[in-house]
């Protein structure tokens, strides 16, 4: 310990420290690479899975480090999706759907990357403003308040007809999100989440997660660190929303409400809300499971009869799995652990 470690050891130490992130990135990239050889339908499902992964990682940044459950991440996804849509759509299309748009936005046609970043940043800004009062609340009150944020976002986007089109869909977004774009952002989200959780601020926040009173007594400004996590989380959620909008080519307000919230929260809980590995594992496991259940709902042909599960079975099973996980393995699949360096130094 006393002597400075040799250069080689420092590199190994660094690698060891970054290993959870590298391993997860390798796994996710490997799956995406495998999917790129699959038929187009499966490729689209994989892209959708990577977008969900980004959303789950975004939610994890706040929930995992603060220990406070948030139902509001889908609201920030909606913010990201609408901002990017408004900035990148062709002015001609906007003048058809949204004739009352302010001229500055109506004439804008940003390239896709700045549009996506703007979506993330506006979501983060909204989180900063909203989070300021909310982060003062104690644990479960804050959770309920984030649910209120989701409802408010739904009401506002669903009725702000001049800017969002209200209940009508916003169509004609450049549908540029393919497998590789989604992979790039998913990896970036994982890297941001991991590097953030290695910071001092995140460590202090996790201390408050374990024992809020003790952390406060030790001089931790819980509200400040919660707010920071909330803002970073909203940025990543916003990006996930941007991806979803530009993947589907359409933004509909009801796509960003309870069903998506349920899916994202269920993924995080099932995977384990205490670690990045858990968030990624949940997203991957549920993606595969959803795919299998989708097949089950389509059914198998046996002779002349089709044996199919009734539509909606998938949702019931997902809810049941979430319930069983919380009852019997409340910390999820990963149970708060990260992947560890497999090669022992000795």
């Amino acid at each position: 310990m006393s002597a400075p470690a040799p250069r080689g050891d420092r590199a190994v130490d660094m690698l060891r420290r970054l290993w959870p992130l590298l391993a997860l990135c390798l796994i996710v990239a490997g799956i995406a690479l495998a999917a790129s050889f699959a038929p187009a339908v499966l490729q689209r499902r994989a892209t959708q899975g990577l977008i969900n992964l980004t959303a789950v990682v975004g939610l994890y940044v706040f929930v995992g480090n603060s220990g406070v459950l948030s139902f509001g991440s889908v609201a920030f996804m909606a913010v990201g999706a609408y901002v990017s849509a408004l900035l990148t759509m062709r002015p001609a299309a906007k003048s058809v759907f949204l004739p009352d748009l302010p001229a500055m936005i109506a004439n804008a046609q940003w390239p896709t990357l700045p549009g996506a970043l703007a979506g993330g940043f506006v979501a983060a800004l909204v989180a900063l403003v909203v989070g300021w009062p909310l982060m003062r609340l104690s644990g479960v009150s804050a959770s309920i308040a984030t649910f209120a944020v989701l409802v408010v976002a739904n009401v506002v986007f669903g009725n702000w007809t001049s800017v969002t089109g209200g209940q009508n869909s916003l169509m004609g977004l450049p549908a540029y999100v393919d497998l590789w774009t989604a992979l790039g952002w998913a990896l970036a989200a994982m890297a941001i989440a991991f590097l953030y959780q290695e910071t001092r601020s995140a460590l202090l926040l996790r201390a408050s997660r374990e024992d809020e009173a003790a952390a406060e007594a030790s001089g931790v400004n819980v509200m400040l660190h919660r707010l920071l996590a909330f803002v970073i989380s909203a940025f990543l959620s916003g990006i996930a929303g941007v991806l979803l909008g530009h993947f589907l080519g359409i933004v509909r307000v009801e796509n960003f409400y309870l069903d998506l919230t349920f899916l994202i929260v269920a993924m995080l809980i099932i995977g384990g809300r205490g670690s990045l590995t858990g968030a990624v594992a949940g997203a991957l496991v549920i993606a595969v499971l959803t795919e299998l259940l989708r097949e089950a709902e389509v059914g198998v042909q046996i002779g002349k009869a089709t044996l199919a599960a009734p539509p909606g079975t998938g949702d019931v099973i997902l809810a049941l799995i979430m319930l069983l996980i919380i009852l019997f393995r409340p910390d999820g699949i990963a149970a708060g652990r990260e992947l560890t360096w497999p090669f022992n130094r000795n």
């Binding site: 003062r136 609340l137 919380i326």
Partner: protein, 294 residues
């Protein structure tokens, strides 16, 4: 003048619906620190019970809805919440979220997600003349039912032995147990009462809207949650007051806001709530014993 009285009566009737809902949620939170999302599904399933019992005499329908809600409340307690009794509030919250979605998705699987018409208590849609003002009979009934239930609940909590146990448990669960309060009995009682309240609210809401759909409970419960939070989580008076204020406030906003802003009234209500919380993070009537003592 007539308009003003009508709006006020409307506000009080909607306020009492949310007060009852928030009280049902507050009862459960008091005894086990659980925010019960599944309270919404108790209401939804009570409403579907009414739909299933259509054609039978009215008392049978009401009793059936109440019975189903109570039994369902007890089942969820036994299956999903009792095993987690010593878990932290967030784990309990997740469990109730999962139960809520499980029941909701199961209902969609069984009966479909489309809303169904149910002309329940059509007689209450009538308007009556009261001190020179035309009022809907249903609103009067809602207010009366709300008031009666609140009085009965208060009497139960203040004047009966079990009520005393429940208040003691809400204040300090561990101490109450040490002094001989039966945990299982108190918690089961709280769930049963929340089932009764859920069924009552459900009947009144169905009579008002005339439709049932799988999402109806969740929509009610989210607003009632916000009511319990501004009232002060863990305080029963606070829950009822907060629920009442949120419900009545949204009706008053509907009347006072300029027409182009009316669709946003929930947003305004919740922003008002956020402002209240800025100054009173513990709620209007903070509960004693909620903050962990060290």
């Amino acid at each position: 003048m007539e308009r003003v009285v009508q709006t006020l009566v409307d506000a009080v009737s909607v306020g009492s619906l949310y007060a009852l809902t928030a009280l049902g949620i507050g009862l459960i939170f008091g005894v086990m620190r659980l925010i019960n999302f599944a309270h919404g599904e108790l209401m939804t399933i009570a409403a579907y019970t009414l739909l299933a019992l259509v054609g039978l005499p009215l008392p049978v329908m009401l009793l059936g809805a109440m019975l189903v809600a109570v039994v369902l409340a007890l089942i969820t307690e036994r299956a999903a919440f009792r095993p987690l009794r010593n878990a932290d509030p967030t784990t309990l919250l997740i469990s109730s979220f999962a139960v809520s979605f499980f029941l909701q998705k199961l209902l969609i699987l069984l009966v479909g997600s489309r809303l169904k018409g149910l002309d329940f208590l059509p007689g209450l849609g009538r308007e009556i003349q009261l001190v020179g003002v035309r009022l809907q009979l249903l609103q009067i009934v809602t207010i009366v039912v709300g008031a009666v239930l609140l009085v009965v609940m208060t009497w139960f909590l203040k004047a009966t032995r079990l009520g005393l146990h429940m208040r003691a448990a809400a204040e300090d669960f561990r101490m109450a147990r040490v002094l001989g309060v039966r945990a299982n009995g108190v918690i089961a009682m709280a769930f049963a009462l929340s089932g009764v309240l859920a069924a009552a609210v459900s009947c009144l809401v169905v009579a008002q809207t005339g439709v049932v759909q799988p999402r109806m409970g969740l929509q009610l419960v989210i607003i009632a949650f916000v009511g319990t939070v501004i009232g002060g989580l863990g305080s029963l008076t606070g829950a009822a007051l907060g629920g009442f204020l949120v419900g009545a406030g949204s009706i008053l906003l509907q009347a006072l806001l300029p027409p182009e802003l009316r669709p946003f009234r929930e947003a305004f209500v919740f922003i008002a709530v956020a402002l209240v919380l800025l100054f009173r993070p513990q709620g209007l009537i903070p509960a004693r014993g909620l903050r962990e003592r060290i």
